[in-house]
Symmetry: C2
């Protein structure tokens, strides 16, 4: 049987520059945008945690059924540094990225997609089944 490369998730790493700095210091707005982003990606929000820093900045993470979203903001730099990590085919992390880019009114950004948990498996490998012995070596 042929082997193929699989991965458990997709992780978008993005730094959004030139954002609306008022949004970046308002934890209620940041939290709302992050939850909206999860929904835009067709992900299921389970729980979240946010923290406001003084004099500037918000940090937060949203646990979704498909993994997580995280954000750190530097309003003094107009920067939102975001991570969107999704597993499975249901959620599309790029939809969350596009939502956040527009919501924070970002003027420029860097973004890359990482494959997470890459492994070799049989072509018909099913992540839902227990193949521990196959790749735990």
């Amino acid at each position: 049987m042929g082997k193929t490369q699989k991965n458990v998730g997709r992780h978008i790493v993005a730094d959004l520059w030139g954002c609306n700095s008022e949004y970046l210091d308002d934890v209620s707005i940041v939290q709302e945008f992050m939850n909206n982003a999860a929904r835009a990606a067709n992900a299921t929000v389970l729980n979240s945690v946010f923290h406001t820093f003084l004099p500037h900045g918000v940090s937060g993470a949203v646990i979704i059924a498909e993994s997580h979203l995280a954000i750190h903001t530097w309003s003094e730099l107009c920067l939102a540094s975001i991570d969107i990590y999704t597993c499975g085919d249901k959620a599309d992390p790029w939809k969350a990225f596009n939502y956040l880019k527009d919501a924070f009114q970002s003027k420029k950004h860097t973004v890359t997609e990482l494959k997470r948990g890459i492994f070799e498996a049989d072509e018909n490998f099913d992540l839902q089944k227990n193949y521990k012995e196959q790749i735990s070596g």
Copy 2:
């Protein structure tokens, strides 16, 4: 005055394979290891959120004063997928990585360090000061 490349943070992206699968399904152990990892990095834990999945897996995030740690586990794959994002010079994310690698008894791993929030600034730029106009364009 000379320009130089600065970044707001360091982000370690790591997938730990061959972990002790019993640890990966125990949310109290995963949470303890993640909090220990933050302390090993000399970071300050502010808050955290964890979720247990059925039949397998734990997801969680720890907000630290220096940014965050996140984890997703697949005990059926003996895999812990972790992120350690720290800002400033006080915390060393590699110390958290080394702690987690050993704590989960990982047999092999992939790991890379990303620079987050990269920008050009004057050599004497101080992130604590307000240089919004310098890089918000």
